[in-house]
Amino acid sequence: MADSSASYIHMVHRLIEECIVFNMSKEECMEALAKHANIKPVVTSTVWKELEKENKQFFDAYRARREQKADSEMETRECLQKIISDSSKLGIKE
């Protein structure tokens, strides 16, 4: 029945939006929806792609944002690791 398909797709759409609010990637979203809502990854992926087509600008910006964050996060992590290793070195010495 077309109705239930439509509502199902709409729901997947909504869930994807929620994932985007959480800054998730497509893959993460597929995983999450599969786990939490029993939605087949292929479905999630398809809807995601379609959304991307319709909202190209948004998704471009989204991707850029994520990359940006990933980079800065990487830096932070490296920095932290350095700190930790430094401090542990100190411990060892003593």
């Binding site: 759409h13 609010v21 319709e54 910006a61």
Partner: protein, 428 residues
């Protein structure tokens, strides 16, 4: 009710300024402004003739009035009402002969319409005009069509027109905010990033406020969800009898306070802009979700995904959070499915499995090194679960981002192409 009426009582702060403004009209109109000094300035202005020679074709396109707005502000023929728009228009004239505007105005645009039209041209100008213009009070010229200007219902807010936050607009807003960082997002910067003329800083500010409270709500839910998931851990592991530690908890599952179990496992995700939903007692998962996990359901509500109440069983489980409701194969194995870490600024410390409801320090088990202070980048599984659950249980709620939905046909076609024919799927 009109703020306008209060404006009536304001006096021209500087007649000179007014005079100057009027004088700028000189080249255009044939008014004699000499008498302005002593009487109500605008009364002496014949607006109709001011820009008689204006070429109507110069009218700026974005001055188009939404008929709704016009209708909304019914024009009062009371010409004594101070004329807000003329104040602005006068102010504008001061800078550059915005004659087109005048003409537009004189053709009967309402105040708010002017607001929007002006703001489309760039709110700065408008705002500045308003700010600087002491000319707040302009008597409406006693002309029939001018009467329309006196839109009695106009709210004389400084550039605050009701903004319709379309999905696209909101999406751009979110982008801008995310780019800046939720906490650091300043309305003026957001405005810059969005690059939309129709918006005033005020609009953005209020929208931002709502957005932030929405996020806070999400966070709160997440916090709850984390605690909840800890309980689930106990629940699940108890069922699976994994680890001696868990054993003591087997029994407690029975002692699960039914109250907490049944109380709306998913606190309604407050979609900002919409009133918070009442916490209904039970949320039924949509059918396509599996019913309750199989673990010992001593409760009669077998469907219940474990509640998200703050964990009662904290501190004991060592297992990383991983169980979520609706997961069919829940108890057997503790899925090491770690989605992401909780939103706590925890430095990657592998051993801290501290689960304290008060502090969202969920275990990390070293799997992921992401410890993001906010749930922005790597949300915890619980919070995601919470959000997803909420979305599932309340499909009527508006979309958080309001992205443009793809056409159903194209989605279905694509799905078929990839081998999915039954939607929603009948089999898990």
């Amino acid at each position: 009710m009109l703020a306008v009426s209060s404006l009536r009582s304001t006096t021209f702060s500087s007649k000179d300024e007014n005079q100057e403004q009027m004088e700028s009209f000189r080249p255009v109109g044939n008014q004699d402004f000499s008498e302005l000094a002593d009487k109500n300035l605008l009364e002496s202005i014949d607006f109709d003739n001011l820009f008689v020679d204006i070429n109507a074709g110069d009218v700026l396109p974005d001055l188009e009035m939404d008929p709704e707005i016009l209708a909304e502000f019914s024009v009062s023929p009371n010409c004594d009402q101070p004329e807000l728009n003329t104040s602005v228009s006068n102010g504008k004239v001061e800078d550059n002969p915005r004659k087109e505007e005048e003409e537009k105005i004189s053709s009967g645009s309402s105040w708010s319409g002017l607001d929007s039209s002006l703001s489309t041209r760039g709110e700065d100008q408008v705002v500045s005009k308003r700010d600087e213009s002491s000319w707040v009070m302009n008597p409406v010229p006693h002309k029939g069509d001018k009467g329309r200007k006196s839109s009695t219902q106009t709210k004389h807010n400084q550039g605050k027109k009701k903004v319709d936050w379309t999905p696209e607009l909101h999406g751009r807003f979110v982008q801008a905010v995310e780019l800046l960082g939720v906490d650091k997002a300043v309305p003026s910067r957001i405005l810059e990033l969005m690059g939309i003329d129709c918006l005033t800083r005020h609009n953005i500010a209020s929208h931002l406020q709502k957005y932030r409270s929405h996020r806070k709500h999400l966070l709160a839910r997440e916090a709850e969800a984390v605690g909840w998931s800890q309980r689930r851990q106990m629940y699940g592991t108890a069922a699976a009898t994994v680890g001696g530690d868990m054993l003591p908890w087997q029994v407690p599952t029975i002692g699960f306070p039914p109250v907490t179990l049944m109380q709306h496992p998913f606190r309604p995700l407050h979609v900002w802009g919409h009133p918070s939903m009442d916490q209904s007692p039970i949320h039924i998962w949509p059918k396509h979700l599996t019913p309750s996990p199989s673990p010992p359901p001593p409760q009669s509500h077998s469907w219940a995904p474990l509640p998200r109440n703050p964990s009662y069983w904290h501190q004991h489980h060592r297992v990383p959070s991983g169980l979520t409701p609706g997961t069919p194969c829940l108890p057997q194995s503790l899925p090491a499915t770690r989605f992401a870490t909780p939103p706590v600024p925890v430095i990657p410390s592998h051993a801290t499995y501290k689960v304290d409801p008060a502090d969202i320090g969920a275990p990390t088990s070293g799997q992921s090194g992401h410890h993001h202070p906010t749930f922005d980048f790597h949300p915890s599984k619980e919070s995601i679960d919470a959000a997803i659950g909420d979305a599932l249980s309340k499909p009527w709620q508006p979309l958080p981002l309001k992205l443009k939905a793809p056409s159903l046909d194209s989605v279905l076609v694509e799905l078929q192409r990839r081998g999915v024919t039954k939607i929603p799927p009948t089999a898990c």
